[in-house]
Symmetry: C2
Subunit: 307 residues, 2 copies
């Protein structure tokens, strides 16, 4: 049997190398060099071309290359009943939390602003931002880790999720009804939601209007969480003071995209939680072995909830 890599926008050779470094690794193939489709019992998937998933009659495992699985779930050819797993990495949560703290501090003390002034030899103080209310949309593994780090640094944290959460020191909002309330007092709103039909373009005019004037948006969820026109409007009206965006609907962000040259948008190239390929390879092979022994899989997706 064989593992097939169905990866777009990432280099499959690095993961392949890590997989093959394990003695118990089966044959690894990279699409489109699939060979006999009947031999494929596991696919590793990232931003794959839709419409391929029902081509493997003996498929037993669909493993996401990353934490998100929206591209898998939205594929109309996704076979029923095949388990889907995602990549869970505690150090990835820590890196994400650090990135969010860095983004907040950078805006609070205006570090990037001063660097831009520096090019013009400009010596001018800009008052630091005093507000320390942060709302985190999404309180899964990543959101909870970020909330805890920020709480430890004396930020006042609110979180919003599908259901009520009980996390020490964090005010829990939940359900559609409490979304706008959750962001009303925030100086910083951080999106760490999974991308589902309900959360697509959740960062839109209605949400921005519910945020207070001068607040700052950090999107480290998915590009499709943002309605781009609405964001540009609320930035140009100066209702939002700025935005740091690490994820985009199309990645890499196209060269002609207006975000690149926007003075209030800080673009980072999807680096808030870089995948540790060695760890990913171990996690997938572990599940692959569990499958052969009939043991329960780790990090399984609930298809109904979409994450």
């Amino acid at each position: 049997m064989a593992i097939l890599l169905l990866l777009n926008q990432v280099d499959p050779a690095i993961l392949e190398g890590h997989l093959k470094s394990h003695p118990d690794c089966p044959d690894v193939r990279t699409y489109p060099d699939t060979g006999n489709v009947e031999e494929i019992d596991c696919v590793i998937v990232w931003k794959h071309d839709q419409g391929l998933l029902n081509e493997y009659p003996n498929l037993k495992l669909i493993a996401s290359y990353g934490a998100g699985v929206e591209n898998i779930l939205s594929d109309p050819t996704l076979p029923e009943g095949v388990p889907i797993t995602r990549f869970v990495d505690k150090s990835l949560s820590d890196q994400m939390a650090e990135f969010i703290l860095a983004a907040i501090l950078n805006h609070r003390v205006n570090l990037t602003y001063y660097r831009e002034q520096q090019a013009a030899c400009h010596w001018q103080e800009k008052p630091a931002i005093k507000g320390n209310n942060v709302t985190i949309l999404g309180l899964g593994e990543l959101g909870t880790t970020a909330a805890k780090l920020l709480h430890k640094n004396d930020y006042k944290i609110s979180g919003w999720a599908r259901s009520e959460k009980n996390i020490d020191g964090i005010t829990s909002y939940y359900g559609e009804n409490q979304l706008f309330q959750s962001v009303a007092e925030a100086d910083f709103v951080v999106c760490l939601l999974p991308l589902t039909p309900e959360t697509r373009e959740i960062l839109n005019s209605d949400l921005f209007a519910a945020m207070k004037k001068g607040s700052y948006l950090i999107n480290v969820g998915r590009g499709d969480h943002v309605n781009e026109d609405d964001l540009m409007n609320y930035l140009s009206q100066e209702h939002l003071s700025g935005a740091l965006l690490d994820v985009f609907s199309t990645e890499p962000l196209p060269r002609d995209h207006p975000f690149w040259q926007h003075p209030k948008i800080h673009v980072t190239p999807h680096i808030s939680s870089p995948t540790d390929k060695a760890k990913l390879a171990r996690q997938i092979l572990d599940n692959y072995n569990r499958l052969s022994k009939g043991e329960p899989l780790l990090h399984l997706i609930d298809r109904k909830r979409s994450y």
Copy 2:
């Protein structure tokens, strides 16, 4: 009697307003509108023109506008026996600590780097810096607060000071003999020393050579702690990966200074610990009243130690 403001490089009107808002405030004058010099019993001093301090025969208190007092102590006309106080502000320590954490995180996750790439529509990941060893030169109020904040955020902290310190979780180095050892393992070196004859240009080739390749310098002490030529050399040799400088020998930094256009130097306009003028006014008037009642003064300088 009267208070005289001897302030350069800051606006005296703001402090004057805060002083006069207190009902027990005596007459406040601003140099050179001194009036009768015999009426001056307190001067508030910041980067004053040297040579003025012995002109007030009834002077009883010299209050520094900021935390540093080097400009007062280096004045040859400084009268013997007049107490010198400095401004101590716990929230200023917190702000300084936050600024240092921001500077470290900004370098670790390359936020400013990405912002510079953004201007060229460049989508390219730069690996985050993994090292988390920080050495803080100077473990006074500011250094200790910064050390504690960084320790709470899981950095490994060493500190260097004149004498041995016992601070939970922080490796203490002390005395001239241990200076180079204190920075040998550091990924980040933060200068928070007072400026004294011993610490002037302490950030020089010898210290940089003792730092490891790729380490990063943050100077939030005084501009005169840095030997500027040595710093430029060690940056161009790529021994140091960069520097954030918030303080300079001449402030504002002159327009023709090479630091402005240096790609590896991040210039901020002395904003790491902005003086809270309302609090400064209260602290000085408190000491002024203590003086009249013969009570001990707060935040007195030890002239022998220079801080």
